[in-house]
């Protein structure tokens, strides 16, 4: 069982570089509690709000989540957390359980890759391609966080041209279920998901 803290940060524009470094330091400090970096994405230019960063932090068990949460709020991680706070306005986080991940690695794409994040109702998750070539790299079920509850969030690696077709297409994509929300994310060069 793996948990993921998925956090959307409203970053202060002048502090964007300092923010990224502060997150790296924060992730390094969290490693002592068993946490591992999951991803560091920026919302792609032209697809959403400015200076918005999406991070993922993996935790191996519920006890590790508790130690991490207490440490960030009041303990050894609070200074590193406040260093991140100093570079952002605020953040919204959700806690996920990892339902499935591709173990065979992502296929090669021509040029840089983007990550597309979609959130769908659990009832619609059956329409996801779980076993075929279009299956997402990561499937997450929401445990805590803001509405809507009982949803599934998927991350899939895509080529920029396909993403553009997806965003501007006039007909539904045969491989993408209608989502409640679609985010286009550009990985940082140190992000474990790239």
């Amino acid at each position: 069982m793996t948990l993921v803290i998925h956090e959307v940060h409203r970053v202060r524009g002048k502090e964007a570089e300092a923010f990224e470094e502060a997150v790296r330091q924060y992730f390094e400090a969290a490693a002592a509690l068993g946490a591992e970096p999951g991803w560091y994405f920026e919302v792609s230019h032209g697809t959403g709000p400015s200076y918005r960063v999406v991070t993922g932090l993996r935790l191996p068990a519920w006890a590790a989540w508790e130690a991490f949460a207490e440490g960030s709020a009041y303990g050894k991680l609070s200074a590193a957390t406040e260093a991140v706070d100093a570079c952002r306005y605020d953040s919204e986080a959700r806690l996920f359980q990892v339902v499935a991940e591709r173990a065979d690695g992502a296929e090669e794409l021509p040029g840089p890759a983007l990550w597309v994040q979609r959130t769908v109702a659990e009832a619609d998750a059956a329409s996801l391609d779980h076993d075929g070539p279009e299956r997402p790299e990561v499937v997450l079920r929401q445990v805590l966080g803001d509405s809507p509850p009982d949803t599934v969030t998927v991350l899939r690696r895509e080529a920029p041209r396909d993403v553009l077709d997806l965003l501007t297409g006039t007909t539904p994509s045969p491989t993408a279920p209608s989502g409640q929300s679609t985010w286009v994310l550009r990985p940082s060069d140190w992000s474990p998901l790239r």
Binding site: W62, A63, F68, A69, Y74, A93, L95, P149
Partner: protein
């Protein structure tokens, strides 16, 4: 201890059915889970957000949150999912962690907090949610120094109007940061008439004016909700 905080903006007209479903089908299930205890079901029938229910559930540990999650996702959790789905327009779920100096930090405090009051008068709660712009640890310390400790002194005098049940940060990874929550019980409902009816004029040198004036160093945005505790049927 972890406090699970679930805010349901209820479908208009469904508040009574929501409460019935919670007490009849959800709370007995929670009672059966080890390390999980339903604490309070707080409701608002009228307010800016319309019909609203906050379900507070005490969890002994992170492992208990795991057990709760597994239960909620399984067959036995169907009624809990109905509360969040069919009976709610919106449902936000977060975990709260009490500050080291706060009450409601230890599991054995739950018994007293959950005990029904002796009389028939409704229990009224005020939940304050604040969003500091200062360093979070400085804000937490300010709340201890300028609010929690004066309130404790007030309580000793026997004339307290409020009982502070706890001060919490939203557990990192489960909601907004920075965000903090006060859970307070109103001991004298007449004090609410003054609170909502009189203009806000603060004496910066005496409590509570001192708390309000100095608080602007740390935050100026918060939200207060007046909530009534739903009585568990006996």
């Amino acid at each position: 201890m972890i406090l699970l905080h679930e805010t349901h903006q209820v479908v208009p007209g469904a508040l009574d059915e929501f409460e019935r479903t919670y007490w009849d089908a959800v709370a007995p299930e929670l009672d059966r889970l080890d390390g999980v205890a339903p604490l309070w079901l707080l409701r608002q029938r009228q307010g800016i957000e319309g019909e609203l229910v906050i379900a507070l559930t005490a969890l002994r540990s992170g492992s208990a949150l795991g057990a709760y999650t597994e239960w909620r996702q399984g067959k036995s959790g169907v009624a809990a999912r109905r509360l969040a789905g069919e009976l709610s327009r919106r449902c936000d779920r977060k975990a709260l962690l009490a500050a080291p100096w706060s009450t409601l930090r230890e599991w054995d405090e739950i018994t007293e907090a959950a005990a029904p009051p002796a009389g028939d008068a409704p229990r009224i709660f005020m939940e304050d949610t604040g969003w500091p712009y200062s360093v979070v640890s400085e804000y937490v310390d300010y709340q201890r120094r300028d609010y929690f400790e004066p309130l404790q002194q007030w309580a000793k005098s026997g004339h307290a109007l409020l009982k502070l049940w706890g001060f919490f940060l939203v557990a990192p990874g489960t909601g907004r940061r920075p965000e903090a929550v006060f859970l307070q019980e109103v001991l004298d409902a007449r004090a609410l008439e003054r609170l909502i009816g009189e203009p806000e004029v603060y004496d910066p040198d005496t409590f509570p004016g001192s708390y309000m004036v100095r608080g602007l160093l740390y935050r100026d945005q918060w939200r207060s909700r007046l909530l009534v505790a739903s009585k568990r049927p006996t």
